[in-house]
C-alpha cells in the first residue's frame, strides 16, 4: 500500500475505539464490538499501520506512541501531524516534486492519474487519484477545485 485507501474518518474511528480498549485488543474482538466484518476493518488497520499509528502482532492490534500522540492532538494538530507523516511517503514526496515542476504549480486530475500510473505503476490509478486528493486535503498538503479541475499545493 502506497497511501491509505480508506476514509480518514474511519481511521480516526478505529484509533479512538482502540484507545477505549486500553490501546491493545484482539482484532476479532474489536471487529465484533464495532459490528464490522474483518474484511471491512483490515484496510483501515493497514492504513493506520502505514502511517505508524498502529502495530499488528499475531492477532492483536495496538496503538504506537505516535498513534497516542496523534489522538491527543486537537483537530488542527491532527491535520498537521498527518501532513508531516504523509510527506514521508514516497507517494506524496514525488507528487509534490511533480507539481512543483509545473509552470503554474498545478495539475489536472487526469495528469495526477497518469503520473501515478507511470511513476508508481498503480493499476487503478483513477481510484488512487481520488484517495490522493482526499488525504492531501486532510493533511493540508493539497487543494483541489473540481470546477476548474486544478490540483494545487497548499
Amino acid at each position: 500500500m502506497s497511501i491509505p485507501k480508506v476514509h480518514y474518518s474511519r481511521l480516526i474511528g478505529l484509533l479512538e475505539a482502540l484507545e477505549d480498549f486500553g490501546g491493545k485488543v484482539d482484532v476479532a474482538k474489536i471487529a465484533d464490538d464495532l459490528n464490522l466484518e474483518l474484511d471491512d476493518l483490515l484496510p483501515v488497520i493497514e492504513a493506520a499501520e502505514l502511517l505508524g499509528f498502529l502495530r499488528t502482532e499475531s492477532g492483536d492490534i495496538s496503538l504506537t506512541n505516535e498513534g497516542l500522540e496523534f489522538l491527543s492532538d486537537g483537530t488542527r494538530g491532527r491535520k498537521k501531524h498527518l501532513g508531516k507523516k504523509l510527506l514521508t511517503l514516497d507517494h506524496f514526496k514525488k507528487l509534490i516534486e511533480f507539481i512543483n515542476q509545473k509552470e503554474d504549480k498545478s495539475i489536472t486530475k487526469e495528469e495526477l492519474s497518469n503520473f501515478l500510473a507511470k511513476e508508481f505503476h498503480e493499476i487503478d490509478s483513477k481510484a488512487v487519484s481520488e484517495w490522493t486528493i482526499e488525504w492531501g486535503r486532510h493533511g493540508l498538503l493539497l487543494r483541489y477545485n473540481s470546477k476548474e479541475d486544478k490540483i494545487k499545493l497548499l
Binding site: G74, L142, N145, L154
Partner: protein
C-alpha cells in the same frame, strides 16, 4: 422525576405535547402527553423504538411543526414559529449538492442578512473547528459520509445557536465513522467557547445516548410517551466500554425492548 429537574430553572419546557397524524382519514396518535424540561449546559438525549415519534418531537421543539395539544416554552415564552436560537443536524445531512463546503456552511447565515465578508469569516472559523479545513472548495459528492455530516454540523453551528438539535446524526454512517464523529462532538461540546449551551439529540442507539448525554429521556412505543428519565452521572471522559455504562444501557434497553 430526577432531582436535577426539580431544582434548576429550565431553559426549555416541553409541556403536555400531543400530536396525531392523519393516515388515509384515520387519526394515528404519534405523541401522547409528553412533558420534560431542559436545563442550561445539558446534553440531553431522547431514545425510543423506531416510530415512537421522537423525530416529530424534535421538530415540534424547533417550532417547525405545531403540536395538536400542549406547548413548548422557551425562556418563559411560548414558541409559535421556528425558534431562531436553535439549529438542527439531520440524519440525511441535507446538503445542497451544487454548493461547495463553504457555501453550504454559509447557507446557515444567509437567512440572517449578514454581509458576505462576515459570513465567510464565520464559516471559515467553524470549518476549522469541525475538522473540514482543506475541504473548503469540495462538493458534497467528493466527501465521505463522515465529512458530509461535519458539513451539516458546521452549517448548524455557524449561527452560534444556543440549542443544537440532532436527529439521529450518526445512524446513516459507517460504524467506524460514527465512532470517530461522536468523539469530535464531545470535544466540541467540552469546549465552552464554541459549543451551544444545550444539545438535544434523538437516537435509537441507547449506548450512544448514554455515552454522550447528561440525561436520557426514554419514550415508549407509539404513541410516544415518556416512560422514564435517567441522569447519567458518569464522570467524563467516559469509557464507552465500561461496566457502569453497560449497566445503564441494559436498564434503558430493557424498558423499550
Amino acid at each position: 422525576m430526577s432531582i436535577k429537574t426539580q431544582l434548576v430553572t429550565p431553559i426549555l419546557d416541553v409541556r403536555n405535547v400531543n400530536k396525531e397524524f392523519n393516515l388515509h382519514g384515520r387519526k394515528v396518535p404519534i405523541l401522547k402527553d409528553v412533558s420534560f424540561s431542559i436545563h442550561e449546559n445539558e446534553f440531553l438525549s431522547i431514545v425510543g423504538p423506531s416510530g415512537c415519534g421522537k423525530s416529530t418531537l424534535l421538530r415540534i421543539i424547533l417550532g417547525l411543526v405545531p403540536p395538536d395539544k400542549g406547548e413548548i416554552i422557551y425562556k418563559g415564552e411560548r414558541i409559535q414559529s421556528v425558534n431562531p436560537h436553535m439549529s438542527m443536524v439531520f440524519q440525511s445531512f441535507a446538503l445542497l449538492p451544487w454548493l461547495n463546503v463553504i457555501e453550504n456552511v454559509e447557507l446557515g447565515l444567509e437567512a440572517q442578512g449578514i454581509p458576505k465578508e462576515q459570513r465567510q469569516r464565520r464559516a471559515l472559523k467553524i470549518i476549522q473547528e469541525v475538522g473540514l479545513e482543506g475541504f473548503e472548495d469540495a462538493y458534497p459528492r467528493e466527501l465521505s459520509g463522515g465529512m458530509k455530516q461535519r458539513v451539516g454540523l458546521a452549517r448548524a453551528l455557524v449561527t452560534d445557536p444556543e440549542i443544537l438539535l440532532m436527529d439521529e446524526p450518526f445512524s446513516s454512517l459507517d460504524p467506524l465513522i460514527a465512532e470517530g464523529l461522536r468523539e469530535e462532538i464531545l470535544k466540541l461540546w467540552s469546549d465552552k467557547s464554541t459549543s451551544p449551551e444545550i444539545v438535544i439529540m434523538v437516537t435509537h442507539n441507547v449506548e450512544e445516548a448514554v455515552y454522550l448525554s447528561d440525561r436520557v429521556i426514554v419514550l415508549s412505543h407509539r404513541p410516544g410517551t415518556v416512560l422514564s428519565e435517567f441522569d447519567i452521572d458518569l464522570q467524563r471522559p467516559r469509557n464507552k466500554r465500561g461496566q457502569e455504562l453497560y449497566e445503564l444501557v441494559d436498564k434503558i434497553t430493557s424498558l423499550i425492548a
